[in-house]
């Protein structure tokens, strides 16, 4: 973990010099890919809103670079867990650590709504993702590259309102990716999309995750999406992790294969049986 920390620091240092030294920038890009992905350790995590005890002791270790899907019935606290991980809510008890000092831009979140600034062109919306580096001289280039990664290079000068729902969500993905995050948390990012767009977006998510190697945490209510994308599926119930299922099928996965269907069925029945208890 020491080496990771040092790279992270020298990264910022290099960033300030990037405009003078293209060589250094290349190096930095390479190192990013190598060191991407942070492990995640959650111990005894609790969170309540007033009398409503939402999370009642979550213990979880996620190795660096793993793709984890979180499922559970509505209101079980999936979003709350994600928001705690992203630092958007205060922890009541327990701890979340990333095995390393993290910079703010190392952890990014994507929501169901794209949350684009309607008054900024697509490219400047992506530049928002650079955070403090937003004003740096290579901001345009980096944002343009991130847009190209999600296949929207030709839309850079458009207003967000002319884009389709799927395209907006891809811009949001580019904005999350542009700072090369090491943990990327998704809160039902595809929930509002039609079936076909969903599938192409799932492919895109899987591709960027494989390319960049960040640790991915995907909250979804679609179990078939969970087994199609994730290495591991967590079922949350009654504020705890009720089931922890590994999906060991090799990638690229074949959609609708018997193995995935069987897995999906068993997770669904667990979700439903959890429903019966309450």
């Amino acid at each position: 973990m020491q080496t990771v920390l040092r790279t992270a620091l020298s990264e910022t240092e290099l960033a300030s010099r990037a405009s003078f030294a293209p060589q250094a920038r290349l190096e930095r890009e390479e190192r990013r890919v190598q060191t991407s992905g942070l492990p995640l350790n959650i111990r005894g995590l609790r969170k309540s809103f007033g009398d409503n005890e939402v999370l009642r002791g979550i213990d979880l270790h996620i190795p660096a670079g793993q793709f984890v899907a979180i499922v559970g019935k509505s209101g079980c606290g999936k979003s709350t867990l994600l928001r705690l991980i992203a630092g958007l809510e205060k922890i009541d008890a327990g701890s979340i650590s990333f095995g390393d000092d993290v910079l703010p831009q190392d952890i990014r979140v994507m929501f169901q709504e794209p949350r684009l600034l309607p008054w900024a062109r697509v490219l400047s919306n992506v530049e928002v993702g650079l955070g403090r580096d937003c004003a740096s001289s290579d901001a345009h280039a980096r944002a343009g590259k991130a847009l190209a990664e999600v296949g929207l290079a030709d839309k850079r000068d458009q207003w967000p309102s002319v884009l389709s729902g799927g395209q907006k969500q891809r811009v949001a993905l580019a904005r999350a990716l542009v700072s090369r995050p090491r943990v990327l948390a998704f809160d039902e990012p595809l929930g509002a999309l039609d079936a076909l767009t969903r599938i192409s977006m799932q492919r895109l998510l899987e591709r960027v995750w494989r390319d960049q190697g960040f640790t991915a945490i995907l909250v979804t209510h679609d179990v078939s999406e969970a087994v199609a994308l994730a290495d591991r599926v967590l079922v949350i119930d009654e504020g705890r992790i009720a089931h922890d299922v590994m999906v060991n099928t090799i990638r690229p996965r074949e959609r609708g294969s018997a193995e995935l269907a069987r897995l999906e069925g068993s997770i669904l029945s667990r979700l439903l049986s959890a429903d019966d208890h309450t």
């Binding site: 990014r108 949350r115 600034l117 309607p118 008054w119 928002v128 955070g131 403090r132 309102s161």
Partner: protein, 268 residues
Amino acid sequence: MSLVDRVFLPRKIRLPRVEGLVQWIVPLAIVVVWQVASVTGFVPVRVLPAPSDVALAGWKLLLSGELIRNIWVSFWRASIGFLIGGSIGFAFGLANGLSQLSAKLTDTTLQMVRNVPHLALIPLVILWFGIDESAKLFLVALGVFFPIYLNTLHGIRTVDPQLIEMGRIYGMTDGELFRRVIFPGALPSIFVGIRFALGIMWLTLIVAETIAASSGLGYMAMQAREFMLIDVVVLSILIYALLGKLADTASRVLERLMLSWHPAYWKR
């Protein structure tokens, strides 16, 4: 559009011009009917002078320099009053939209003052300021204050909280958050306030100048009334309408420039 486009695309240029003319058909028809009604004696000249008489009166006043001087005085009062009232309203709107403390401190008071019709203060204002410039500026500023204050406040309060959270997640400082998220988000509402305020600005000025002034369009109309110059009275009314329309157009153009991202402003 470049010169080349003009040469090769004559129809595209001409079409919008024709469309632009369409809206003037009705006003023009009204003037024609009015003129005919006056000339034939259908409408007595003492009730409403013919448009040609009004135009003639305008021409005379223009030559004497009186018209320009009065328009200028009214325009000056309107803009200075608007600037003063508008900036104070904007400042309070910003402060109360951004700070809970400030809102708690002043919002209730302002809402109470808002319920007093500002024109009801005219007698008091005359007692305070006499009939000099500050009386008119005060009234205009007061009238303009509330629409700008209320709409700025509303605009800031209704900025999508999800966008604000997004800005925070991506590490925007308070200043950046204001500049890139809150202010642009509040702008459509602020423009609504400006349009309202422009209407109130003219209304206030007309009343104030009619009652207590020694120059300006309203004064010109009152003077004309005393000498039974009905053509000048009608002229003043028309000029008020024209100036109001001008202010509205200016704010629309500004709106369209600054809200070019908004789909509502893409097509007429």
